[in-house]
Amino acid sequence: MVSLWDGFEVGDVVAEGSIALTRDSLVRYAGASGDFNPIHYRDDFATSVGLDGVLAHGMLTMGLAVGPVTQWLGDRGFVSSYQVRFTKPVYVLASGSVAVSVSATLSKIDDPSEGSATLALSVSVGEGTTVLGKSFVVVSPR
């Protein structure tokens, strides 16, 4: 069997991508997920609770950040573990967009015989402000 990791060395970027988030994206995620906390769509409410403005759902950022990995993986395997720490808010203005950049790096081959491996995700906005910490995806072949 051809390993998923043939041609990759630890430290190599396996997948990357960038998503432009708009206020519409947040409203869409609110509807799809059922998380209607108004801090994710109402500026007046967000500022009234001490935030600098409307911010993206952490789970939206987590959800989109694994996309490049699943897209790269296709039907050759599945995500067997995924974790993140929410370290910084992603503010999204009423107009315009904010680019969320994702890069997935091969961190370690967990089980060479089975072929599962851990990818470290780097997720940032703007000029490289990291918004997720301790972000790891474990991929297993099937």
Partner: protein, 149 residues
């Protein structure tokens, strides 16, 4: 109001059965920019060996959320929802959720820790099919901010 330390090891009632729906998976996938065909196109998912559309990795939050609501609204928990921030999130999968799965989720409080005036509440929600097959375990750490001085 502060978090009740006796919450530790509390196990909540399983949620009522949730059926993973095809259009819900498509809608959620679009919302998280998950464009892989196995999330949208039935023929692609079946060609890849799945019975139906594959839910993207963070879809289980929709089901886990129902257990977090049980925790947050529990009268004895002492958790002020307006002070809650999502700190950490983890999913461990036996397999992906697939359209047609009927699942229930059961939450257990696994850790309560005070740190610099804040309280971190960690809970583990196991999601299994109504026939008892474990599918995914979702773990959240909620940070309950302390009273401002």
């Amino acid at each position: 109001m502060s978090v009740n330390p006796e919450l530790l090891d509390t196990v909540f009632e399983p949620t009522s059965p949730y059926v993973v729906g095809r259009e819900k998976v498509r809608e959620f996938s679009q919302a998280v920019f998950a464009m892989a065909p196995i999330h949208h196109d039935l023929a692609s998912a079946q060609a890849a060996g799945w019975a139906d559309l594959v839910a993207p990795p963070t879809f289980p939050i929709v089901i886990q959320e129902k257990t977090l609501q049980q925790l947050l609204s529990h009268p004895g928990a002492g958790i002020d929802f307006s002070r809650v921030v999502h700190g950490d999130q983890k999913f461990e999968y036996h397999r992906p959720l697939i359209v047609g799965d009927e699942v229930v989720a059961t939450l257990r409080v696994t850790k309560i820790q005070s740190l610099g005036g804040h309280t971190m509440v960690t809970s583990e929600s196991t999601i299994e099919t109504t026939s008892g097959e474990a599918v995914v375990t979702a773990t959240s750490t909620l940070v309950v901010r302390g009273d401002e001085a």
